[in-house]
């Protein structure tokens, strides 16, 4: 049963028997195959990323002459030009804008999703079933359906060209996926600790803050991370709601440099793309455990 319980036998003091040698060889072949496959697939997976980073150091002329990623004449001109941007602001300014969009949004999401998920997972109240169905239904609803009326709504509220349209829906647990994810997470946590806290004299809110939130930490962190990345990369939202350049987040600022009506500098665009993706990638690599946990809890415990 070597193929099921893969146990690496340490070279025992006893000389290996014939069987053992055979088993070991089998294992080595199977491991080689498996690693080989995984490495090849893995390379295909991350090649675009590597290519993009490499290409951002290429000259424009070289950009489209080869699919290799190693620049022949490396230059950081793209980064220099890109950072300056064509606006009165540097790219740094746009990063700050992004941050200013992202932080309240992430905080709002985390707080509202936690509250709502707690409500769904731990309480019975009239209409709960129907409301939960709407969570699922929202997950399935294509955005195009609601985009136009939403815009009209924010116009009526006078929120255009501010960050409010980006912040507020999230602060009202607007991202059904996150609510769903946290609910799934909560369902897997036994209630005893919370009951113990209630017996200890905590109110439901105190129970949430002192007991549930610490236990939910991995889920909340992964919600924050996802929201961070999605918001950093979001293009359409800011495009529609934000008009002053001063308020642009990086995604829009990046798009600014790309205009097919005149010759453009690919290395500059790619350099900025790399910069734009960097926060997300850093966040991802630092916390990949939470991403994986978050994404799998949404599905597996479902």
């Amino acid at each position: 049963m070597a193929h099921i319980s893969e146990v690496n036998v340490q070279a025992a003091a006893v000389p290996p028997t014939e069987i053992e040698v055979k088993l070991r060889r089998q294992r080595r072949i199977s491991a080689t195959l498996r690693y080989g496959l995984l490495v090849i697939v893995g390379l295909i997976m991350i090649y675009p990323l590597i290519w993009m980073i490499g290409a951002s150091f290429k000259t424009n002329a070289e950009m489209f002459s080869s699919a290799g990623f190693w620049p022949k004449e490396p230059t950081i001109q793209g980064y220099i030009d890109g950072w300056k941007t064509s606006t009165p602001y540097t790219f740094g300014h746009f990063f700050l804008n992004s941050l200013w969009i992202v932080l309240p949004k992430v905080i709002g999401t985390a707080i509202s999703c936690t509250l709502v998920a707690y409500g769904f997972a731990r309480f019975d109240f009239p209409g709960k079933k129907i409301l939960f169905v709407t969570v699922i239904a929202t997950l399935l609803l294509p955005n195009v359906v609601t985009r136009i009326p939403q815009y009209l709504l924010f116009r009526e509220l006078g929120w255009l060209d501010s960050f409010l349209p980006l912040w507020v829906p999230s602060a009202f647990a607007g991202d059904a996926f996150f609510v769903f994810m946290v609910i799934q997470f909560l369902r897997a946590i036994p209630r005893d600790m919370e009951e113990a806290a209630r017996v200890d004299g905590a109110s439901t809110l105190q129970t949430l803050i002192y007991i549930v939130v610490p236990m939910l930490a991995p889920a909340i962190i992964s919600v924050c991370l996802f929201q961070f990345m999605w918001t950093m990369n979001d293009f359409l939202g800011p495009l529609i709601y934000i008009s002053s350049v001063e308020n642009y987040p990086v995604s829009l600022a990046l798009k600014l440099s790309i205009d097919t009506t005149e010759a453009f500098n690919w290395n500059q665009i790619l350099a900025m793309s790399v910069l734009t993706l960097t926060p997300s990638l850093i966040v991802f690599f630092m916390a990949q455990k939470y991403f994986i946990e978050g994404i799998s809890s949404g599905g597996v415990k479902g």
């Binding site: 600790m193 009951e195 113990a196 004299g201 905590a202 105190q206 236990m215």
Partner: protein, 376 residues
């Protein structure tokens, strides 16, 4: 400390399932009351209604002189110990202990004093700065106990606190808890306890009184000896005692004053200590006799049934002799010393019930009809 009263307590779950059928129970101040019964008999449901973790469908729960039905758990003056400890996983033991007091805004130094006292009593001083995951099962259970103790509640509630421990640890925790209870009583601050378990050994050894439940009804409330010697019905009789009491259908007749019992076509006279206890007329009954009171004699002996050995279990000091009497499967416990080692499966043996230990139960209601005047 206070008295606890349940009055016609009813619980119907959201799905319409009626789990508790209006039970009444008085737990006296300082009393150690054990709720015991098979799985699903609503022990936990009852306990959780007392704690306020389940809403009460009907009836009332009184603690001291307050009806607590509408109080949140934290205001009922109770403390609870859970089966899987339910320690707050992200808090050190110290904070786990102090959390309840902290919520009540007890001053820091008082919390510390209380923590120290409790951890001294439970010998968990060295554990105070550990996280729950760094504790063994027994240690975690002691911390959970401490968390209840520190609050000096009016009533302690336990829900199978020992069932996650292995046999040895369970035995020693059992002793520790009863010792603690007795000690508190001696120190003049007796603790009212409701202790849920499905383990009859725990029930017998720990409880001042035991409340045996079945399917949401109370079957009997009594002290361990009474429960063991004078079970109110066949259910309690079968539930308490190990190996369980032999219960099989028989027909009661009388020869003069002497009760005769017929089972599997065999009729025996039961001479000593039964006749004056019987409170029913002739007819079918359920015959009950504990395995330890079923003596092995030669087949055909007077006052003994003759049965066939179906299985012999060597238990060390004792032997469990499984026999077949008609359709009934009986067990007799025989000291190994006095056991005839030539017995084998299929052999016929005589089994003589000791009359003063025979119980008769109503064939239909299961009620004990041999509790007449005399003690046994």
């Amino acid at each position: 400390m206070a008295e606890l009263q349940l009055k016609s307590l009813v619980k119907t779950y959201g799905n319409g399932f009626k789990a508790v059928h209006g039970i009444d129970l008085d737990v006296k101040e300082g009393e150690f009351m054990v709720l015991v019964g098979p799985s699903g008999c609503a022990k936990s449901t009852t306990l959780r209604m007392i704690a306020g973790l389940e809403t009460i469908t009907g009836g009332e729960v009184r603690i001291g002189d307050r009806v607590v039905n509408d109080l949140v758990p934290g205001k009922r003056g109770i403390a609870m110990v859970f089966q899987n400890y339910a320690l707050y996983p992200h808090m050190k033991v110290r904070r786990n202990l102090g959390f309840g007091l902290q919520l009540r805004r007890t001053p820091k130094d008082q919390i510390e004093a209380a923590t120290n006292e409790v951890s001294g009593v439970l010998e968990i001083e060295e554990l105070l700065d550990r996280l729950p995951k760094q504790l063994s099962g027994g240690q975690a259970q002691r911390v959970a106990l401490g968390r209840a103790l520190i609050k000096q509640p009016e009533v302690f509630l336990f829900d199978e606190p020992l069932s996650n421990l292995d046999a040895k640890l369970r035995a020693s925790m059992r002793v520790r808890i009863t010792d603690l209870h007795q000690r508190l009583r001696q120190e003049g601050r007796p603790a009212t306890v409701v202790y849920v378990t499905h383990d009859q050994v725990e029930a017998m050894t720990m409880g001042d009184r035991i409340c045996v439940m079945k399917d949401g009804y109370i079957m009997q409330v009594a002290d361990p000896e009474t429960l063991y010697e004078r079970p109110a019905n066949a259910f309690v009789a079968g539930f308490i005692g190990m190996p369980e009491m032999n219960l099989f259908p028989a027909v009661l007749t009388r020869e003069g004053n002497i009760p005769c019992l017929t089972a599997d076509g065999q009729t025996i006279k039961v001479t000593d200590g039964l006749s004056h206890r019987i409170t029913t007329g002739d007819g079918p009954v359920t015959f009950g006799i504990r395995p330890q009171q079923l003596h092995v004699v030669a087949p055909g002996t007077d006052g003994a049934f003759t049965a066939t050995i179906s299985h012999i279990e060597f238990m060390g000091h004792e032997i469990n002799l499984h026999v077949r009497l008609g359709d009934a499967q009986l067990v007799a416990v025989v000291p190994t010393d006095s056991f005839d080692t030539h017995f084998a499966r299929g052999d016929r043996v005589g089994l003589r019930p000791s009359g003063s230990h025979v119980h008769l139960f109503d064939a239909e209601t299961g009620e004990n009809v041999s509790l007449g005047q005399g003690s046994n």
